[in-house]
Symmetry: C2
Subunit: 370 residues, 2 copies
């Protein structure tokens, strides 16, 4: 990284500065070949052992060192998708230093390098030649937390020029995520752009808040985190959105969805606020070890829940550790007479699944009206 | 990072999930004490040597290992500011694995951990209790590059509710940056929010594009990068902004500024497009080794330049490697009879300086009208 600083300091012409690479191009990583094999490389001349951990792999292969101290391994062919990975160098995790694309997280030690294996044509989460909406980085005042909070808000193509009010989906991240992740890694905006262009989903506003009331380093206990997030959502964020966006304000046009921890929040908040939400989607999240107790009030209210919810969708990957809990939750809902969709798909506890779930469920939440 | 995956898979209740830390809280880094001393820590039991490189320091101190294999060093007290740093473990650079805050870059090997040392009260780049504008993540079609490109666009508080047209500043990043960095690390939006609240700067739109025509991995040569970026800016982005934002479209209300490579672009583009820009600001960037030759056309047009430019501001830190080139450029402009402000300040080639420069120059670019 020091070479960068030196290069930037040189009094180069603007043209030369523009082309100046920051590092000698010796080590390229990850390198994706036309047949979708991937070579990972890492320069670590003094290391005794380097391995790669990738959600594209079922093992953690050791890399081998060449005469220049560059470790490498080739894997695949891989399915076109977006994968997280990192290297472990003598027991210490490290990003791929040759790859500028990282997945950010709101807590320590969870930043991962990103491997994108492109498809033969743009995939459902890729930029296509369609009208594009935008994502707004908004600040809103929270009476609940006493702070100014940030939310990412997707508005569909030509939002500024329209006049009709739109439905709105509140979309929550999982543990360790933040308000940026559904856009920057989940590509919610591009998924919606593509669904809307194909007339599969209605134009909608998607609000992606920070699904913790307080940052991790504040050390606030979980129940207060959850309760204050719920209060912020219901009494600070939703009113802010309704004051600042052209959205419908009735429950029929308001949905709540989330992944993992955000799915848990959706389960905890949604069925208890039928006056607020008409459509719920839960990705890769159960209702805890004892839903009979935790959700006794919801079960007792089954008739209302069925009458009010137009969609109650629960999805989980068959290789996901949350599979058992999700299945238990679905069985509890069935036993309680609460209508819902329980869908299992191939996949683990990963964004590979969550991007697909958003693509599948957004058209069910707010279908395109022809 | 594997512990994270395991924890997420456990079928916890939503409440427990919300509070579940991702890692045992054993190692805290960076730890900022009340007296603004900072302790860096890194767990690397097998390493022989670990050092820290921080722009807050003038040396690269070695860290010492405790019985648990955790390396640490305490430095400071430090001035309140935002600093970049990383660790070097047996010759391999690594982020601080306990710190979730990173500075992103568009090229490899340049991602850095971020240390924020807070002031006794919110600083000029902090969130204050003032009205907040927003930043829009926009996609626009570029005929120049044949691709869909992304720009970040700041709009001031209450932009949606206003009716008068606003001035617009095009603000460029440096080498290895991208369209996110002025917002995510430079805090341009918060700096503007605060300046507007204090009635120092006029409400303005700030457009922050990707200042390369093509991504680094495309391997496009520097002159084509520069020329195509200029064409994209002038013939794709500016028309897009004028079609999609409530901005004035005359040259009096259009400014161009940038840092380092973006300052070089400002120097190369601005004085040659007086029909487009009336105010220029150049941060930490010279005009190359032979401005007499490179800018001969601009010197020959000195009278027009003086007549048309309402601000031509060049700033550079006295410890910046770009100091000599900036000084040479200023001397050349003076010799050519071109009026400009040449300002030197303490500081090096760093965002510490560029945040301050934006704070200083934005009110000069578009002053608040009382």
């Amino acid at each position: 990284m020091k070479l960068r600083a030196l290069l930037l300091l040189l009094p180069l012409t603007a043209a030369v500065q523009a082309q100046q690479p920051s590092q000698p191009p010796a080590v390229r990583s990850p390198e994706v070949s036309a047949d979708r094999r991937v070579t990972f490389r890492m320069r670590a001349p003094n290391a005794a052992k380097v391995t790669v951990f990738c959600e594209c792999l079922t093992s953690e292969p050791a890399m081998t060192k060449d005469a220049d101290g560059v470790w490498s391994v080739t894997v695949g062919p891989l399915e076109p998708d977006i994968y997280e990975y990192h290297f472990t160098v003598d027991g210490v995790d490290n990003l791929d230093q040759r790859n500028p694309v990282v997945k950010y997280n709101s807590r320590p030690n969870l930043i991962e390098s990103v491997l994108e294996v492109p498809g033969p044509a743009p995939l459902f989460y890729d930029v296509k030649s369609v009208p594009h909406g935008k994502v707004e980085i908004r600040y809103y005042p929270s009476k609940t937390t006493g702070t100014t909070r940030r939310a990412f808000v997707y508005t569909p193509p030509n939002y500024e020029r329209g006049t009709n009010r739109l439905p709105v989906l509140y979309l929550l991240h999982g543990a360790d995520g933040d308000e940026t992740v559904w856009t920057q890694f989940g590509r919610a905006n591009l998924i919606l752009d593509n669904l809307i262009a194909e007339r599969k989903a209605a134009p909608m506003v998607v609000v992606m808040p920070f699904a913790y009331a307080y940052p991790w380093h504040a050390g606030v206990a979980g129940e207060k985190q959850r309760a204050d997030f719920e209060k912020d959502l219901l009494t600070d964020l939703i009113p802010f959105v309704q004051s600042n966006y052209r959205v419908n304000t009735d429950r029929d046009n308001r949905a709540l969805a989330g992944l993992s921890m955000g799915g848990g929040l959706t389960l905890a908040i949604g069925p208890r606020h039928l006056d607020m939400f008409s459509r719920l989607a839960v990705f890769s999240s159960g209702g805890g070890q004892n839903p009979e107790k935790t959700f006794a009030d919801v079960a007792a209210n089954a008739k209302n829940v069925n009458g009010q919810l137009k969609l109650f969708w629960i999805g989980v990957g068959t290789e996901d550790g949350a599979m058992a809990g999700s299945k238990r939750m679905s069985e509890f809902l069935t036993a309680s007479g609460i209508k819902h969709i329980f869908k299992t798909t191939p996949g683990a506890h990963t964004w590979i699944v969550w991007r697909k779930y958003l693509n599948e469920v957004a058209p069910q939440i707010f279908p395109a009206t022809s």
